[in-house]
């Protein structure tokens, strides 16, 4: 009985140690326990009671094993990663909450009992919407939390450096001028937009942007099948925009890396918008028909006539879509050029100093 308890204790300490070390530690602990037992030799108690007393004094085998492996202070995410982890986590959870809430309001409206219905269906609709909001938010927040935590745990355990070494004071990053700094507000705005975009166009293509009040049921503005056919481009846009945000967050100013990420994300956006809005079927035909019935105007081209200055099928795209294509392309190009100027200006300033 006595031996059994001691053996079990020693095994509990050594079972996770490397084999060679486990043998040595077992011998040491055996010696220690024997010494402690010998000390208690004159105490009037049974052998078993004495063994129990000694083992209780030695404390939890897990704690002892941690001392032996030198992992007593190990953690999932330690400093300096922990501070950045908390900041990123707050940002992600905030963006997920706002994004999911707005997206679900839009999706709930599209399923609403419009235009007139009895009280019961209104109550059911509200209940359904609240339950869906709650479940989606819970899983969204858990997902966000899990991803951020996993990524930072890996970075921490791989020893990826997030701050710079203090070998040379001249290596301290320059304080960016006000105009090349990237504000937190800008990033939060982008994060919300990205979450909404992903939910409405990638997750819920059959809902997308529901137009209400023009028919008995809300009509999605975009043709769901077209959305599905450009899904890979939408996902590519999403990923490159997230990459851009991560780089912006880490650098906090318009650096060359930020410029590279902005260029990539904007080029993918241009291709996506050209392919998606440039598809003659991009606007839901049901919506287009209903629009013509209500207003007597055609959404295609300039009231059914080709838009001057545009050739081929482009001239007959819905005018608002054509405007979106032009505006997105122009803005993206301006954004790339302006990020480039800011990045290079800042670099020149550094090299002049």
């Amino acid at each position: 009985m006595k031996n059994n308890l001691i053996e079990r204790y020693i095994y509990a300490v050594t079972r996770h140690l490397p084999e060679k070390e486990a043998v040595e530690v077992s011998r040491e602990l055996d010696e220690l326990i024997a010494s402690m037992l010998a000390e208690k030799g004159d105490i009037p108690a049974s052998e078993d009671e004495r063994v129990r007393e000694v083992l209780m004094e030695l404390g939890s085998p897990e704690a002892m094993a941690r001392e032996y492996t030198g992992k007593a202070n190990d953690s999932l995410i330690g400093q300096p990663h922990y501070s950045l982890y908390l900041r990123v986590l707050k940002l992600v959870l905030m963006a997920v909450t706002i994004g999911i809430s707005v997206a679900l309001v839009v999706s709930a409206i599209s399923e609403g009992p419009f235009p007139t219905s009895d009280t019961t269906s209104w109550i059911n609709w509200t209940l359904d919407a609240v339950i869906e909001w709650f479940t989606s938010l819970t899983s969204g927040l858990l997902g966000g939390f899990a991803w951020v935590t996993i990524i930072f745990a890996i970075l921490y355990h791989k020893g990826v450096k997030l701050d710079f070494d203090m070998n040379d004071l001249d290596d301290l990053p320059e304080v960016p001028e006000e105009k090349v700094r990237i504000g937190r507000g800008e990033l939060i705005g982008e994060a919300i937009f990205v979450t909404l975009f992903a939910i409405l166009f990638i997750v819920l293509p059959y809902v997308n942007i529901p137009i209400i009040g023009i028919a008995a049921k809300p009509i999605p503005l975009f043709t769901p099948e077209v959305l599905i056919s450009v899904r890979y481009l939408l996902i590519a846009s999403l990923l490159t925009t997230i990459l851009e945000m991560v780089v912006k967050f880490v650098d906090g100013r318009y650096s060359l890396r930020v410029f590279g990420a902005i260029t990539l994300a904007n080029l993918v956006s241009i291709v996506t918008v050209l392919t998606w809005f440039g598809n003659p079927q991009a606007m839901n035909p049901v919506f287009a028909e209903r629009f013509q019935e209500l207003t007597g105007l055609s959404v295609y081209g300039l009231n059914g006539q080709p838009v001057p200055g545009f050739g081929g099928p482009w001239a007959m795209l819905p005018l608002p879509f054509l405007i979106v294509i032009v505006v997105v392309t122009v803005i993206s190009i301006i954004e790339i050029i302006s990020a480039g100027i800011k990045a290079f200006q800042f670099r020149d300033k550094l090299s002049v100093d």
Partner: protein
């Protein structure tokens, strides 16, 4: 008040932690076995638990500061630790560091 006690406990443990290496190395000039160390340090008023001392001795051995030998001549085999030449250098430096800091800290806190 519980916070006061807890904080005091935590801070004093932190203070002692750094000194443990110094104190243990100082006792290893002659061959000594783990439990003997636990007893002598306890008698001298610097009590350390066996579950701290044993892993610490092994760590110091791995770092090359201690050497060990099993004495199997007696009925109860025992592992004896003794300081190595590198360990001695390390101990001297640590001891001087402690004296110096102790002096400075004393001066600072007795100024006021």
């Amino acid at each position: 008040m519980e916070d006061f006690e807890n904080t005091f406990e935590n801070v004093s443990v932190e203070l002692r932690r750094g000194l443990t290496n110094l104190v243990v190395l100082s006792q290893c000039k002659q061959p000594v076995y783990g439990y003997e160390l636990v007893k002598t340090l306890g008698d001298k008023g610097f009590p350390l638990e066996a579950n701290t001392v044993y892993p610490l001795l092994r760590r110091l051995e791995k770092q090359g500061f201690l050497r060990s030998d099993w004495d199997t001549s007696t009925e109860k085999p025992r592992k004896y630790y003794q300081i190595s030449p590198v360990g001695l250098r390390f101990y001297d430096r640590l001891r001087n560091h402690w004296y110096e800091n102790n002096r400075i800290v004393q001066e600072i806190i007795e100024e006021n």
